[in-house]
Amino acid sequence: MLDLIYKYVSPQTLAWLIVAFPLAGALLNGIHSLLAGRFHFKPSKVFTSILGVGLPFFSFAVTLIIFATLIGFPQGQEPTMITGPLFEWAATQGLSITFGLKLDQLSLVMALIVTGVGSLIHLYSTGYMAHDEGYARYFSHLNLFLTFMLLLVLGDSLVLLFVGWEGVGLCSYLLIGFWFEDPYKAYCGKKAFIVNRIGDTGFLLGMFLIYTALAGADLPAEQHQNQFFNFEVIRHFSAYLLPAATPICLLLFLGAVGKSAQIPLYVWLPDAMAGPTPVSALIHAATMVTAGVYMVARLSFLYVMSPFAMEVVAWTGAITALFAATIGLLQTDIKKVLAYSTISQLGYMFLALGVGAFSAGIFHLMTHAFFKALLFLGAGSVIHALGGEQDITKMGGLKERMPITCWTFVIASAAIAGIFPFAGFFSKDAILWHTFHGGHISLWLIAFLGAGLTAFYMFRLVGMVFFGEPVMKAAQWMKVHESPPSMASVLMILAVLSAVGGWIGIPYALGGGDHLQEWLAPVFAKTVGVIEIGSHATEIVMAVLSLLWALHFVILAWVIYAQRKEWPARMAGRLRLLYRLVFNKYWIDEIYNFLIVRPLIWTSEKFLWGIMDVRLIDQFGVHGTGRMMLVWNRLVTLMQTGVVQQYLFFFVVGVILIIWGMLFK
């Protein structure tokens, strides 16, 4: 089978096809949508769907082929493929940037997630967006997103990664503000872009620091050919980066903080929920926001050189995990709950990276992609059925009307809560275990607490939406319907993945083979303390402990929100202040607004423009010079009396003075 394929296309071409398929879809759909808008015809839905959904699936198929090829490599040979440079992008003296793809264990896992989950969500979108007039535009954006995301994960250099990095940011901007007639949604899109850009500056500076450190080190030219941004080169010469490792890692991490919505730059992600729900599922849960995790994992060899940076990553992750989980407890918008849960789960991934458990982080990234996509799509299904309603206090008992959505949602919730044997259990447990095992007890405590809260808010959501008594009126109730097959089928596929997806990473302690870890291990640098597997007995105890901890919260939440709905209100009454603090998301947005945004605009408008530019430079400086001329003019015209005899008098005086000077000098 593979031989047959490779008879016609080279592996390199195939690799580029992964990126090219969605790009073609984006271009064709984009032109289609544009022309339709300009010439006022209705874009063809069939055309859009075939291209927009078909091409991502092609891309997925190609990724699978390459995956099959790589796992077919003989033992001992690194399952890695490098396309080599397609073309040289830019070159100056001492710098050469080429565009090429690198498919190794890590990027292939990422590519599989992106194309796999991505294609499913494309399929789901055909149902979800069926009645939207921007159908073609939607698919062109979504395809473009896939293109950039694939560039991000497959690119062989930091620059190409950055191209993808900003590109997905752009698509995120376009898709959050997809329904741009709503000013709030347009605002959210812009906010996401700007906050991401703040992080990107760190990323840029980190890149520059790598370049400066390597280019200034007088390395053998034939080994790097000035391609100082290439991962291979950076890795090969990473020893030269040791002195600058901490600033490099911290700067790059700033980029990750922006993209992956960690404290303090997480504020854009909740607002990003303004976009269509499949977008939230794909971009703001499964793929784009994990780019930061991918980047840190990709550069693991740099991070292990700086224990301090690792500490920062771990603590940022842990604190974000707990912090976002607390906010998630009280949100009433179904998507906002999921958004905060995404932030929290991303925190777990960073925690894993920070304690050196890179493969655990990627493992969680993968399972998270499955169950969080499913959660969002399930939420989308609910929202779709309720005609746009997102407030969970107005839902309840939906189990009766939409069973498929309900049960897939429950599976996903169990997965995220860490219930055995669903996917999330294994990945979260891996993180907790590695944290504990690495000796980071305080981090482990925070993460453990966060895990409980996760279980609680997820089942609060499940209880309030699907169980209990329906709140809505009967007429409305009758209109609630299960989603069309295009959506439901995707839910079921993802449910299967959420259920069994974790089995490829079952640790040895629990009788598994830890396949993912084995597969990824060559890519990652090793840190001290997490190399050996440790005591199996402790690991099993810890796993059972965290399972019980999560289960207890699941039951608690279930009881409170599905059965005893009056309890939360009473609790809120008791803890008034705390309740308001958390309910208002700690007023972080307001604080940012008050401390940064408003002073900045005020200073610019009133001081820089009003006083500095208009008054000081223009009025005083420029027009002031003009007015000075006028003053001189007044002085000089005083002499210009018009009486000729006076002129003559001056003239004679002048002559006398000159003669005087000539005679007596």
């Binding site: 009396t641 018009g642 003559l648």
Partner: protein, 100 residues
């Protein structure tokens, strides 16, 4: 004995009287006459030097100056007539067209 110095002093006196007249008098006709007086003073210097040095150059220049003075008087009087027609005055301090 009348020496060159006497001529020069006389010429200087005449010239100063002319300048004084030009600057002080308001009547435009008298100003014109004062200018003529200054020219005469210059002519006197020319003649005196011509005699003193024994050349003819000075004489030639005097003729030149006389010619120019005649032309100037003609143009000057023409302007005066024009000014008088327009302003009905011959006093220069009443004509201030050049005031800035």
């Amino acid at each position: 004995m009348i020496t060159l110095n006497h001529y020069l002093i006389l010429a200087a006196l005449l010239f100063c009287i002319g300048i004084f007249g030009v600057i002080v008098r308001r009547n435009i006709l008298i100003i014109l006459m004062s200018i003529e007086l200054m020219l005469s003073a210059v002519n006197l210097v020319f003649i005196a030097f011509s005699r003193y040095l024994g050349g003819l150059d000075g004489h030639v220049w005097v003729f030149m100056v006389l010619t120019v003075a005649a032309a100037e008087a003609a143009v000057g009087l023409g302007i005066i007539v024009a000014v008088f027609r327009n302003k009905e005055t011959v006093y220069v301090d009443e004509v201030k067209e050049l005031k800035g």
